[in-house]
Structure formats: C-alpha cells, structure tokens
C-alpha cells in the first residue's frame, strides 16, 4: 500500500479489497467483551483538524484508540493557528514531538499533499477542501459490499456464497446525487467505486456539475428519476451551503423538488436498493426525514462502519514494517 492515503485514486483494486477485507475482520471485534487490540501500542496518531467535524474526527479517534495508539487531537480553534501559525510550522512542531501518523482535514484542497513533504510519518487525508475524502469512500464501499454482496450487517455467518471477502463491487450500479461540484465525497467515491468495478453515475443540476466531469470514470446525468429506476445504491450528497459562493439554484424548495429524495422518489428504486448519505444531513433538503429513517437507509451503519474501516487503514499503514525495513 502507499505510504500516504491522499486520494482514493491512489488505491489499486488489490489495496482497496485488502482494506475492505481487513475491516470485515475488525468488525467482528465489535461484538466482543473487550473491543481493544494491542496492535498499535506505542504509536502516536495526531488528528489535525482545520475544519469543524464531529463524525470524522471522533471516528478516527475511536479507531486509533481501539488499536491502542496514542491520540493527540489538534483543532485549529483554540490553538496557535488562531494566532497565525502556518500549516508548515504546525507540521514541524508535530514532527518534533514525534508522530507516526497525521490525520488531516483542511479547507484547502491539496493541504495533505503538501504536508507529506514536511512530516516523516504517514499522512491520511480526512477531507481537503473540495478535493477528496478517501476514508469516506472506503466506508461507503464497505457498506455497499456488506449490504449488497455480503449476507447482511456484521458480515453474517461467513457461510459459502455469502462471504464478500476478496470481492469488489463489480456490476453494482451507484447513483451519486446532489452537489457534486463541491463534494470531496463524490470525487473520492467515483474514483474508488470505479476501481472496484461499480458503474457510477453522478446526477446534479447543471450548475452543480463539475466542468470536467466527462474526464471522470463515470456517467453523468441531469435526470434523477430516470437514474433511480436502474440503481442499486443511491447516495445523496449534502447541499454545502458553506462552500457556495454564488446562487447555484433558485431556492431550496426548487432543489428539493428536482433533486431531493422523498418517499415517492424512493419508491422508484428497485426492491433491494439502498439509500446512503455521508452526513451530516440537511433533512428536508436533499433527503426527506422519512427516507433517512427508513429501513433502506444505511446512514447509521455508515457511521459504525467508519470506525472499522479507519481501523483497517491505520493497521495496514502503521501495523507493519515501513518500506525498506523488511
């Protein structure tokens, strides 16, 4: 596997399947009386968060702690960043303290890539601007494989025919809907899911469709209802008001009517299809409350899977020998 995890596009199919398989085994630890493993004892993981986040930061923190790593949480608020310290100086400070991995979230696309030049430890991108969020894509892929290829939550009994180990997402039809332009989740998912063999379609209003979408390994469409009928997975993206610097659609009501997922639209989906959302949700905008709370929704499972997938990433990146030492 690569030294750093910056882009979902850096992962080969073998890497991605290995991460999903490792996560599937780690998920079984959840049911035990002692949910802690000694694997990363003595290693230090820094959560370097320049943007607000609850689920991603706590998910990485829980993952590192379950593997017995020491965790240092660093958020820009209330730190020397508020006094004007640059990313590089912060990185050098952390480097001097001795860190084995830095998990970074930053509002600027490309910040994690810059960081790799300044620290000697591993760098894991936990979301950079409108660029990428690879661990979100991995947990989404894990959730899809669990629900559509494996035999139910928890990996099932591992019976023959129902074991998803070693498998990708070949032939699964995924429709990603909403603010594709500003979404790092969409970009990472398109890259990872296509690597795993899924057929991805992005659906967005013309104003929220990236200009170069034809260079992405996916189809694009403006017609949600037509795509829903032939989807195994529909992933609703959050309307990111905070990143919108212009008026991309006339009104929230108009957006909801054309691109929101409500119960009548959900009825267009095939019987087995699932509804995903990376969170946090704007209930009543891109997704109706009754859809978010339906049995087809995997939104709560996605949060639980986030911890095990991040455990798998941390174990595979930090658990073994560093390159060249073996």
């Amino acid at each position: 596997m690569n030294r750093h995890l910056i882009s979902a596009g850096d992962l080969s199919r073998d890497d991605a399947v290995l991460i999903l398989d490792t996560a599937a085994e780690l998920a079984r630890v959840e049911g035990r009386p002692i949910r802690k493993l000694p694997t990363l004892r003595g290693l230090t993981v820094v959560n370097l968060f320049y943007e607000d986040s609850t689920r991603t930061r706590t998910s990485f923190e829980a993952a590192a702690k379950r593997l017995s790593a020491d965790v240092i949480n660093f958020s820009a608020k209330g730190s020397s960043v508020a006094k004007g310290e640059s990313l590089k100086d912060t990185a050098l400070t952390l480097e001097a303290m001795g860190t084995d991995a830095v998990v970074i979230r930053h509002p600027a696309s490309g910040a994690p890539r810059r960081l790799t030049g300044w620290v000697s430890g591993r760098v894991i991108n936990a979301g950079d601007g409108t660029h990428e969020h690879p661990t979100q894509a991995l947990l989404d892929a894990f959730t899809m494989r669990q629900r559509l290829i494996g035999n139910g939550p928890g990996g099932g009994a591992g019976g023959p025919g129902g074991d998803p180990r070693g498998q990708g997402l070949d032939g699964i039809r995924v429709t990603i809907v909403g603010d594709v332009l500003h979404s790092r989740v969409a970009r990472s998912n398109v890259l990872l899911l296509s690597t795993l063999g899924a057929q991805v379609t992005v659906v967005a209003p013309p104003t929220l469709m990236p200009l170069a979408v034809e260079t992405w390994p996916c189809r694009s469409s403006y017609d949600l209802d037509g795509e829903l009928r032939k989807s195994d997975v529909v992933m609703m993206l959050r309307v990111q008001q905070e990143r919108m610097t212009a008026a991309y659609f006339p009104s929230v009501r108009e957006y909801r009517r054309r691109y929101g997922l409500d119960a009548s639209r959900m009825a267009l989906l095939p019987e087995h299809a699932i509804v995903m959302h990376p969170g946090p949700m704007n209930r009543g905008v891109e997704i109706a409350a009754e859809v978010a709370d339906s049995s087809r929704s995997t939104i709560v499972a996605q949060v639980a899977n986030g911890v095990t997938v991040r455990m798998a990433v941390l174990y595979l990146m930090l658990g073994g020998a560093t390159e060249g030492a073996a």
């Binding site: 290995l18 490792t22 009386p33 591992g158 595979l316 073994g320 073996a326």
Partner: protein, 222 residues
Amino acid sequence: MCAMRPDPVHEPAASGPGYPIGSSSPAQPGPQSQPGPQSQPGQPTWKAVLTPDEIRRALTRIAHEILERTHGGGDAVLLGIPTRGVYLARRLAARIGEFEGTQPPVGSLDVTLHRDDLRLRPARALQRTQVPADGVDGRIVVLVDDVLFSGRTIRAALDALNDLGRPRAVQLAVLVDRGHRELPIRADYVGKNLPTAHREKVRVQLAEIDGADSVLLGEEPR
C-alpha cells in the same frame, strides 16, 4: 485469495518472506499449483517426513488423548489457528464426534493483531476469528496449530484468547513440534516430534487447501 493466505512454511522470521500489501503479490510457494515437493534453483529441496496415513493416525491418537485428558471432552472447545490449524481442529472434532457421538465446538483464532513481530514485516492480511456461540468462559480450550516452532504464535494466541473470555484451562495440540522454542511454551498433544536444524523449513500441506496431506522438511541449499 491465494495471496492472502499466510505462508505455510515455518522458518526463522528474519528470513521469512513478507506479505506486502499492494498490487504486486510476492512470489508465493503456491501450494495449490505445486502440490508436491518442488526443486528449484535457490529454493529448498523438500522431503516428506509424514505420509497421509501417518498424519491420519497421529490425529486419531491426539483425538483420543484429548478425550482422556478432558474426561470425555464435554467442556472442550477446539480453536484452530489459521490457516491450517483450523482444518486440523475440524478434523480432530470430527474424530472426537466419531468416538463419542458428540462433536466439541470448533472455532478459529486469528492472532495477527497480537503478534510481537508485526513491525518486522509489512502489514499482513487478517484471517477469520470465529468463536463458538457459547464462548470460551469456563471451558477447556484446546488451541490447534500445524507446527510449533518458536512459541511466539502461541503466546499471541494466549493474549488473543485473553480478550475473548476466561477459559477454565488452555491446552495446545500441534501436528509437528520442530523444537527451537524461544518462550517457555510446550504442547499438550503432539503428532510428531521432528528434530530440525534452525535454518531448515517445515511445511504442512492439508488436503482441504493443498490437495493432499503431507509434512515436508526442506533444507536451504548451501
């Protein structure tokens, strides 16, 4: 899946092949494609030290011994250590079932995350841990592995078991004890004591995944 399987060769860790994660799989011995001893330049030459019949008799004897030592096997739980220990545990349970009418519960115990040599090799793929539904509390757990060598795998297994519950007793069954212990660990049930030189390699092949049963001893060419 072949690349995910741990190497069946039991040899000193320092010279062992790693399992790098990534697109390039290491050159695996590929037991499925090479069921018999192979002689390649730079590779050890293998000689069979246990025949399929000898393996069968050894497992039958161990099954009887487990029944004796656990007073009928009523409390026994067999936990195999992946990959080949799991198949041996299933065979032992089936034998015990033939003799006594009831099979003891069988499970698997992956010890990867508890190993002390993780940092010496690239990160390894995890194997399945499957504990029988009734758990291990108060039971006599018999750990089953193919080869006992340094004892480090068994130490890791004892740690892993500690997180699963509190067995009344833990015993160890191995098909081959090749010596060279690095920890104060011994087996309760041994199929064959095999005196080896430290640099020799022992490979256990089982019909379930390797096509045929055999125990092979290999010697590094000088």
